[in-house]
Each structure stands twice: as structure tokens, then as C-alpha cells.
Amino acid sequence: MIVSLICALVAVFATLRIVFEKSTERKLVYLNLLNFAITGVIVFVVGTMVDPWLAIAAAAAYFVGATLESNAIASTLAQKEGRQ
């Protein structure tokens, strides 16, 4: 399916951008893009192979969890820079 292929390609693209980006804060922005793409892939894969409702729960849980991690990392970096 072309829609899942698009999500997967965007995920690979985002990963490459993360690898080549030097600033940690801006890596998080690309990581956010990666999370969007992976959420799409989860719905397409889990939705067709396991329970459909589980797919929404898994996608939302993954996305919220990943966002919370980015939030924590960015806040910690901001505090660290504030102290220096």
C-alpha cells in the first residue's frame, strides 16, 4: 500500500535528518517527525494484523509516550543551559 510506504519513507528520511543534525534541540524536532511517521506505520501494521481498536490505543500510547520523552529531554536541556 502506498500510504504505508509514504509513512515508512518519511520515517527513514527523519532518521537521516536526526543523524546529520548537530544541535540536540533541533534533533528533537526531527524526532517529532519520526514519531508522526511511526504512528502511521503502527496503525497500518497493527490495524490489519491484530485488533483494530488496539491499533488506535497503541498508536496513541506510542505518540503520547514519545512526546512526553521529548518534552522531558527538552526541559532538561533548557534547565542545564539556564544553569551554565
Partner: protein
């Protein structure tokens, strides 16, 4: 694998609709005004230092740090794809819970998810566009903001924020 041109066009149309939904809701909820948490402010100032616009950068920081209208639109599209209108509403509830988990006091994510659920359900029942196109469309829409050029994306968002404020 031959790719039908019509499907590509449909995905691009879905991406445009998603882009308009999430930018509109985020601007209405004033995401570019200030960083919701210190991390969002740090990302915004970092993008400004790289040559971008501060308010656009703050909006991008807010998108990273809490589920906003773009995340709401994506999860609503996923919900509608899986189970129609009830799936979209279930996704809206999950976005609301996600906002609270991320200490976000705003309602941009929840409103975006609800608005997108209604719109995507209506569009998919009245046109040839399927809900799966909106998932790929939203991923492409967020790529234009978060994935191509932070400097140019933040300037564009800053310009849109200037009109809004």
C-alpha cells in the same frame, strides 16, 4: 510496483486539507505566542539563533513538547480509518488524556482531533478520498513544517502568526 497518479493526487489533496486544519487550529489557540514548557522555549530560541523566526520556532517547540492539533489530526485520521466516527472520537479522548499527561493546560490537541474527526468523516463519506489517505497526508503535512527547513518553516509560521495577532 506501478503507482497510480490519481492516488498520489488524492494524498496531496488530503495533505493540504490536514495542513490547513492543524495550522488553523494551532494559530487560533495561539501556540506561537509562548513556549508552553521550558523545553518548547529552548527549541524556539534555538531555531531563532539559526536564523529563523522566534514565534514560528516556539510553535514548533510546542508541537514537539505536547500533542497539539497536528497530533490530534493524525490520531483522528487513524481513528476514523480503524472504526469510523466512533474511532475518531475515541482518538480525541486519548489526545485529551495525552495533553494532561504532558502537563499541557491548552485544548489545541483535543479541539484539533475533534474538528478533524468530524471533517475527515464528512469528507470520506461524501468524496472518493479514504481515511488512510489522511494518515499519509498528515505525515506529509508535518514533514513540510518539522522536516524540511526549520528556518524557513519558522519564518512562514511567524508570518501567519503576524496576521493572526
Amino acid at each position: 510496483m506501478p503507482v497510480p497518479i490519481s492516488e498520489i493526487v488524492q494524498i496531496l489533496v488530503a495533505a493540504l486539507i490536514c495542513w490547513i486544519i492543524f495550522i488553523l487550529v494551532d494559530l487560533i489557540f495561539a501556540l506561537p505566542r509562548k513556549g508552553g514548557v521550558s523545553g518548547a522555549t529552548a527549541i524556539g530560541t534555538n531555531i531563532e539563533l539559526a536564523g529563523g523566526n522566534l514565534h514560528g520556532g516556539l510553535m514548533m517547540g510546542n508541537i514537539v513538547c505536547s500533542p497539539d492539533a497536528s497530533a490530534g489530526t493524525l490520531l483522528a485520521a487513524c481513528g476514523v480509518y480503524i472504526a469510523g466516527l466512533p474511532g475518531g472520537l475515541f482518538a480525541t479522548v486519548l489526545v485529551y488524556v495525552g495533553n494532561r499527561i504532558c502537563h499541557d493546560k491548552g485544548y489545541a490537541g483535543t479541539t484539533g482531533a475533534f474538528f478533524a474527526t468530524i471533517l475527515i468523516t464528512a469528507i470520506t463519506s461524501w468524496t472518493v478520498l479514504g481515511p488512510e489517505l489522511f494518515i499519509a497526508g498528515m505525515v506529509l503535512a508535518i514533514t513540510t513544517i518539522q522536516g524540511i527547513s526549520h528556518v524557513h518553516a519558522s519564518r512562514l509560521l511567524g508570518k501567519l502568526w503576524g496576521w493572526r495577532s
